[in-house]
Structures are given as structure tokens and as C-alpha cells.
């Protein structure tokens, strides 16, 4: 590292976060402590450093106190680091001469009851932050072009909606479907609640719009087999009946849907007298056998249990809808739904639920500890509200099973390097604030690939994912944070390729240079995770803003 000639002037801003931090730490003591740290020339406490007022104080500090490094001790960098960085930039300081210290999550929250220890820990963290800040180097953001084309994986209702929405915005793209026909699960459905839209008609109409749209290239009987690249520049191989097609695209939407769980071995399931709701849809579509007079539906079959703890969201509404349709076709049929909680959330579902009761569908609350027994011509159930066993005659038993993740979800997850959750559904970037994005830039998701969704939700998410995906397309370029891996010591690199094998983002490659085989970092693809730098036994690779020297300085400060 070159000898620094500049006079380092560090400003430390201590956030009270209302009382979230100041209620549990001694901020006055922390401020006095910070003032005495090396290179610190300015210390200020703010009620909320992230508020407009707090931001203005940072800018004022940079201008009036000639600060050339800024340290904010507040909450997690996940929420406010971008804000603080860009505020430094607005005040004329390179945004990467900023360091953030988390004294909320790591001090005030976890040491609520140990104020003194919490304050001492905050002092350690601030001292470490300041030590690192002194060694920070300015960095410049990286810009890369975006190929203005999209790929949608999955041709169900969510995927078709996304593809059409992008096409309506003038963006070209491909739509890949593993089956022969577009439509996904809708192809197996009868009518869609609550307005009883004909599934066939909807599929037909959407398929016509998609295939007739010149902006959309449809690949059916096709699978994505290879994905290389990064946001803006993906190279994708699609295996079709007529060979492998290679396409270049800028963004990807995952809309691979879910698959109904088959309840083998549960409740005497046989696909004939004991069927799933999906099979019930087929029976209804074919016109129900008039001999069916007694139908019993059982909810939560294979869900909300140890193996599959989640509630699959849409099975209750499916059961209620099908119960009403049965009553419509065979008006003297008795239909009973055995349930744990009727998950008829929202306006439309609750209305359908009420309607079904008025139309004679019966509801019986069962206890999962004492589940119903399916016998040859009846279902025996302990009625949890009446407190006794009941025998319900049954010509047909319908099991409401959850949607589970697609068989190929794992494969797609690996190809795209995006995570799935513990149930095999794709994991979004943030549960609340980024429901349609992945943590990886350039890849988005919608529909039941994320979590079971009904038709309204799948359409809404399809539109929403298109909106999110269109942002890089409309910009035509992406700007990436420069906290990435760099080949800091080219001579040290022996081109062994160990780092290339370990990089989870495909951001490294070996190139032949005049000096021999050397690693090359694809900067836009790098996420700065640090695996390569940690692995390289030659210490050739280094992460910007997390250099060995900076981290050693932090450790030394801690041990001081």
C-alpha cells in the first residue's frame, strides 16, 4: 500500500435511532471515546442519522470540517449503507471513503440488559471502524451494458403474463415451457374461483396472445440447460426438439410454477374413490357422475405437518369452489369439508366461503391430533366443535393437497445460482420489500415458483415481475458497486484456477497473458463475497474495501 500523504480527517456520526440505541447505550461516553480515536476530527450525535436532518449534518461535516472519511455508527448496512454512501458522494466525498458500524443489532439490541458491556462493545466496534476507515481507498462504480431482451422460464399464467407485459412495453424476449402446450397447471383445471372463469378459455386466449406477439419467441417442449453470464449479458442454452438454441438476453424471470402433491399412502388415496382436488377438477370438467351423492373433502392433506409445515394458501379456496360446483351439478349431493382453519383470506375468498354455506356446503372442524379415517363407504371424523365422532357417508373423498416445488427447481436454482427455501420454493430477495426479485441482480420471480398463488395473485405477480425486470432493460445499462474482487498482485497469481472453481457467481476465469496463465475478474458478475480472496494461497486476489491491510487494522484496533 502506498504511503498516504493526505491528512486523514475522520468524522464519526453516532445515531441514537430514537431510543433504539440511545435507550440502551451510553452515547455521551461513546462520543467522548470516539473523539480521542486517531484521525478523528469531528464527532456528532444524531437522533436519527438516516433522517433528512441527519444526512444534512453529514454533508455539512464533510464541507465545513473538511472530513475525508466518514464513519456512521447506527443500524445494519443492509438498510442504510447505500443512503449514507450516496450522501457522501453528494457532498463531494468519494462514496467508498465511508464505513458503517452496526451498534444497534450488535450492541443495543443484543445487550439491552447489559448497558455497560453494550457500550464497551460499541466502543470496540467504533474503534475498529475508524481504524479501517483510515485505510479506505476511493473506488469508482462499474458500468456495464444490458442486452435489451428477456427470458421467461415457465409458460403458465404467471410466465405468460410477464412475457406479454414485457412485449407490450416493446421488449423482445423468449418464453420457455417444458410441456408441449402453454398454460401450466391451468391446463388441468376446470373453472377458476371466485368468478368461475373457464380455465380452457383463459389458456386459449393467453396462448393466442403470446404466440401471436412478434416480440415473443416461444419454446415449447424445451428446457434451459445452460446459463452463463450476469445481469445484462446472459448466454442461455435452450434444449428443444429441434436442437439446442443459444440466446443472448439481459434479464431472466423465473415462473416455473408448483406441482400438486400426490398423497400416496394417505387416507386410502387410490385416484378413483379417493382423489385429489386436481383429479376432482377433471371429474367436474367431464361432467360429474349423477350417482355421486355424498362427497367428503379433507383439508391439509400432506401440509401443515412436520414434513411440510407450510400452509399451501390456495387449497381451501379450491375446495370451497369445487364444493359449490358439485352442489350445482348434483343439487342433492351432500358435500362436507373437514378443515383445520378455513384459510379464506381477503374479500373475494371470504365472500365465496359465506356463499358456499348459504348453498349448503357443510364445514366440520377436525383436530390434526385425531385425523379423519377414510373407510370403504364413509369417513369417520371426530367433530372438534361438537366433541363427538361422526360418520359421514362418502361415495367420493377429495383430498386437498398442497402445491409443492417443481422437480426441476433444484436444477434451475443451480443453473441460475439463485437460492430455494427449505420447502424447495425459490427464495425472494427480501420477504417484505423485494417479493419479486432475487438477491442476484437481473433475475426475478413470480407465481407459484415463489409460493402457491391463485389466479389473481399469479397475474398480479406476473405483471409485477415484468415491471421489475424492465428496469435494467429500460436503462440499457447497469451500475455495479465496486466492492468486488480484484487481482491486486498479478505476479503472485499462478493461474491455478482454484478460485475459479469455487466462485459461486461464475465471475472468475483464467486468461492467457504475456506473463502466463492469470485469473481475470468479470467485474459486473462479482458480488464481492470474498471466497476467492480467502482461498488464494498466494494472496493475489483482494476485495475492494475489505483488503487484508484494512481487516488487519481492524483486528489490531480490537486487540489494542
Amino acid at each position: 500500500m502506498p504511503e498516504k500523504k493526505e491528512d486523514i480527517r475522520i468524522g464519526v456520526f453516532l445515531c441514537h435511532c430514537g431510543s433504539n440505541i440511545a435507550g440502551y447505550l451510553n452515547m455521551e461516553e461513546l462520543a467522548e471515546f470516539s473523539e480521542k480515536l486517531p484521525h478523528v476530527t469531528f464527532v456528532q450525535r444524531n437522533l436519527y442519522t438516516c433522517s433528512e436532518g441527519g444526512i444534512n449534518e453529514i454533508k455539512k461535516g464533510i464541507k465545513e470540517q473538511n472530513l475525508n472519511r466518514v464513519v456512521v455508527a447506527s443500524c445494519t448496512p443492509r438498510t442504510h449503507e447505500p443512503l449514507f454512501r450516496s450522501s457522501c458522494g453528494e457532498a463531494g466525498l468519494n462514496p467508498y471513503l465511508f464505513e458503517m458500524v452496526n451498534i444497534r443489532d450488535q450492541c443495543s439490541w443484543v445487550h439491552m440488559k447489559e448497558q455497560e458491556d453494550g457500550t464497551n462493545k460499541a466502543k470496540d466496534l467504533v474503534r475498529m471502524g475508524v481504524a479501517k476507515a483510515a485505510l479506505l481507498e476511493p473506488q469508482e462504480s462499474i458500468m456495464s451494458e444490458v442486452q435489451v431482451r428477456a427470458l421467461v422460464i415457465g409458460g403458465g399464467i404467471a410466465g405468460m403474463t410477464s412475457a406479454l407485459a414485457l412485449a407490450n412495453r416493446g421488449y423482445e424476449g423468449g418464453l420457455v415451457e417444458r410441456e408441449e402446450a402453454l398454460g401450466g397447471l391451468l391446463n388441468n383445471l376446470n373453472k377458476l374461483g371466485p368468478t368461475m372463469i373457464e380455465a380452457d378459455e383463459l389458456v386459449e386466449e393467453k396462448t393466442r396472445s403470446v404466440t401471436g406477439n412478434s416480440n415473443i419467441t416461444v419454446f415449447t417442449n424445451a428446457r434451459v440447460t445452460e446459463v452463463q453470464g450476469f445481469i445484462g449479458k446472459y448466454k442461455v442454452d435452450i434444449e428443444t426438439e429441434s436442437g439446442v438454441k443459444k440466446i443472448d438476453i439481459g434479464v431472466i424471470i423465473v415462473a416455473t410454477g408448483g406441482r400438486p402433491f400426490v398423497p400416496e399412502g394417505l387416507y386410502n388415496y387410490d385416484g378413483k374413490r379417493v382423489v385429489t382436488q386436481l383429479e376432482m377438477e377433471k371429474l367436474l370438467k367431464a361432467g360429474l357422475d349423477p350417482a355421486i351423492k355424498n362427497v367428503v373433502m379433507i383439508q391439509c392433506v400432506g401440509s401443515r405437518n412436520e414434513e411440510r409445515p407450510y400452509c399451501s394458501r390456495i387449497c381451501c379456496q379450491t375446495a370451497v369452489k369445487n364444493a359449490m360446483l358439485i352442489r350445482e351439478l348434483n343439487p342433492d349431493a351432500k358435500v362436507s369439508i373437514l378443515y383445520r382453519d378455513m384459510q379464506m383470506y381477503g374479500v373475494e375468498n371470504e365472500e365465496m366461503f359465506r356463499d358456499s354455506k348459504a348453498k349448503g356446503v357443510r364445514y366440520i372442524n377436525y383436530d390434526p391430533a385425531n385425523p379423519p379415517q377414510v373407510e370403504p363407504d364413509k369417513v369417520r371424523v371426530y367433530h372438534a366443535l361438537l366433541g363427538r365422532d361422526m360418520d359421514l357417508p362418502a361415495d367420493l373423498v377429495v383430498l386437498s393437497t398442497p402445491l409443492v416445488s417443481q422437480e426441476d427447481a433444484e436444477v434451475i436454482s443451480r443453473l441460475l445460482r439463485v437460492p430455494v427455501d427449505e420447502n424447495g420454493f425459490f427464495l425472494e430477495g427480501h420477504v417484505k420489500l423485494k417479493p419479486l426479485d432475487f438477491a442476484t441482480d437481473g433475475i426475478f420471480l413470480c407465481g407459484s415458483a415463489h409460493f402457491p398463488a391463485n389466479i389473481r395473485e399469479a397475474v398480479a405477480q406476473g405483471l409485477g415481475a415484468a415491471s421489475r425486470a424492465s428496469i435494467p432493460l429500460s436503462k440499457g445499462s447497469v451500475v455495479v458497486e465496486p466492492i468486488i474482487s480484484v487481482l491486486a498482485d498479478e505476479d503472485a497469481c499462478r493461474g491455478c484456477g482454484l478460485c475459479v472453481a469455487l466462485c459461486p457467481y461464475g465471475a472468475l476465469e483464467i486468461q492467457k497473458t504475456e506473463k502466463g496463465r492469470k485469473v481475470h475478474v468479470i467485474d459486473v458478475a462479482c458480488k464481492g463475497c470474498g471466497v476467492c480472496a480467502a482461498t488464494c494461497y498466494q494472496h493475489a486476489l483482494s476485495i475492494n474495501s475489505f483488503t487484508d491491510q484494512q481487516i488487519e487494522a481492524q483486528l489490531e484496533a480490537f486487540l489494542d
Binding site: 433504539n20 368468478t195 382453519d341 374479500v347 420489500l433
Partner: protein, 452 residues
Amino acid sequence: MLDVGRHPNIELLAYSEVEKVEGEAGNFKVTIRRKGRYVEEDKCTGCGACAEKCPTVVSDAFNEGLGERRAIYSYFAQGIPSTHTIDADHCRQLNGKKCGICAKTCQAEAINFDQEDRILELDVAGIIIAAGYDVFDPSVIPEYRYREIANVVTAIEFERLLSASGPTGGHMDRPSDRAVEAEIAGLEKKAKKSQKAISKLEEKFNEPSAQFYKKYQAGEYKDDEDRKKWADKYTAHLAVTEPLEELKKQAEGFTVAKRLAFIQCVGSRDFRFYPFCSGYCCMHSIKEAIISHEHEPETTSSIFGMDIRAVGKGFEEYKIRGGNNSNITYVRGRVAEITEGPDNNPVVIYEDTRERKVKRQEFDMVVLATACAPIKGIAELAKTLGVELDKYNFIKTSSLSPVDSTTPGIFVCGCAESPMDVPESVAQASSAAERAAEIAFQMDLEKEKAVA
């Protein structure tokens, strides 16, 4: 939120309302009223010095009336914009009294008592309605005695009590206890004053008041006017200090609320009010119970509901975790009535439908999970925009066009469309943005055609 305030493509028009909309998709003319704040937005730095000095105390709507603010205020600490606003209904200066303290305090010279509403006209291609919802006011449900029993609060009020930046700094102090503490503070102020008055007299006559008063009552100093005044002042002092001591003794026993009841479907799934399910309230109650337990590990919570609807990703798991780790009991049944027991403890009367028994249970505090109601003024807004409402007064849409209103070019997202939780609102917001962007794209196409 800050991103919105800082984005170069977003013009933020806070404290403003839409007055008139004309035209059609691709070409709307919108009239907007920017309400006068009496503070110049470009001068105010949001420092808050004015609010510190303002003498007028007003109940704070952001804290659901549980806290106080001044007549000049910022809506909440991290609010964007951070510009302060003068509440014209309460400001002394604007109501003809002499004041103007804020104007004298403000170093940025941002206060402008003459500021008027401004009218702004905009040309836009499309409109997104994201007007949100109102929290149902449960005081119309007689059997739950909201506002009659101090320790029955709504979920959003409870949220403010849990918040570190809320009126209790995140401690679950009960409203009844807070009322007593407020009374103590008031009486202490009075006692200080009356103490001062009698201290003067004690000095003058060189005798403690109690000793004097005994003699006075025994008939001494019959025609002594000065001593009569002393006696009057002393009895007035006692009239303050005696109840004060009582209250202080009472307050010694106060602890934070540890036994909590959450009552689901308050105003929802109820034919008298809103027949629909508000969707998010079950999870909201579970979250509040878990956070309460984090604040105070001895906390136990009972959640009373007909069905506990935990239908989102990870929700059922969260519900079970709450039961296992946060002392939450889920009780299946609708609460029939809430009464008040000793120590201001609310008593919940309900049928446990699984045990088929009517039960009474005493709690420290009861939280009502209130319905998601259409916003007040939605009918006028819908009329202004020319869009249809559904029968509950949410903006009408359909399953296959979930964010399109009945008027082309006008879209809707979030709870203005129907009750939904945060991730759904965020997803739907993107959907509405997509539909609006399609209109904007059409405009580009037409422009290109016109040029060609």
C-alpha cells in the same frame, strides 16, 4: 422511503390532494391542491427548534393519540419531507392570539403565516391509486367497550406502544397506568405551587402548617384574617397532596402489561360491519405477541380467533414458532364480551369452541385486531377520478386484470384495492407500475409515428 424523497424522477407533493381530473388514458389533466403548511418547504431544515419552543400541545395522530406533539410539528421523526407543518386549527397565531414564537425561533426564516394553498395543474398519461386504508374504529362495537375500558387498545395503538420511538419508548405501559401517572404529574405541579404558598406563610409565622392547623381547628385565631387565609391555603394543599399520595401508592404497584389478549376479526367477518376477512390481522397479532415477549420474557399471550389465517410464505411456521417459543396460546372462538375487573384489568368472556365451554379470563391488556376499512373520502376520490367501487368501497378490479380500475389508464394497488399485507402490496405496486408504464410506452410509440 428516503429513496423516494431523493429520486430525481419523483416529484414529491406531500400535504396535497387531488381536486379534479379530466381527460382520458394517455392524456389526463389533473388539478392538485397543495395545502399551506405555513412553513416554506425549501427553507425549513427540519431541525425542530420551532416545535421545542411552541407552547401549544396537541394530541399526536401519528402515535394514535397516545402521545403529544406541538401545533408546529413534523409528522414523525424520520418523515419525508422533514419539513415542519403548522396545524392551523391549533396554532395560537393563526387563531388571532399573540404568539409567533416559532417564527422568532426559526433561524432559517422558514415560517410564513401568510402562506396560502397553491393550485397545481399536471398533464399525466396514467394514474395509480395507492390511497391505502383506514383502521376500523371499534368503538361502535358495544360489547368490546373500546374507549370505555382504558386497557383495551387497537393493534395499531399497541404497535405505537411497542415502538422505541413511540410514546412509551417501547415499554408496554398500560393506558390506565399512564393516565394515573399523568394525573400524578399534574398534581405534583399543583402541589409544588401550593407548597410554595404555605411555605411563605410558615416562614412568616415561624410554625409548621400542620401544627398551626390543629390549633386553628381547635378554635384558636378566630378573627385572624391572615391565619384564616393560611388555613384555607393549607386545606387546599391537602386537597392536592392527599390524593397525590394515594395515587403514588397505587402507582408503586404498576408493572408493564404481561398478560395479553389479542382479539381477531374486530369489525371483519362481521355482518354488522365488514363481512370480508382483512387478511393481515392474524399475522399482525402473532407478530405483536412475539415482539411483546421479546420485550418482556414473562409475557404470555392468548390469540382469540375463528380461524388463524397464516397463509403466506413462512407464516404457518412463524405461527407455530410463536406458540413454541413466545408463550402464545391460540384459542378458537369469537370473543363475546369484554368487561373490566379489578385493577383496571380487562376480562374477556368467550366460548372456547374446542372445549365447548364459556370462559372468563382476566388480562393486563387487550388488543383488538381491527378491520382494514376503505379510507374515508374514497367515494369522493373515486368520483373525482371516475372509477367504480366494489360493494365495500374498495376500488373495483377483476381477477384477470387485478390492478386495472374500471377506467382505462387508471390503476390501483395496495389496500385501496382490497385488504392485503406488505409483500402483496409491494408486488401489486410493481404490477400497477407495469400497467402504467405500458401507457407511457404507447405514448412513445405514437410520438415516433407522428415524427415518421
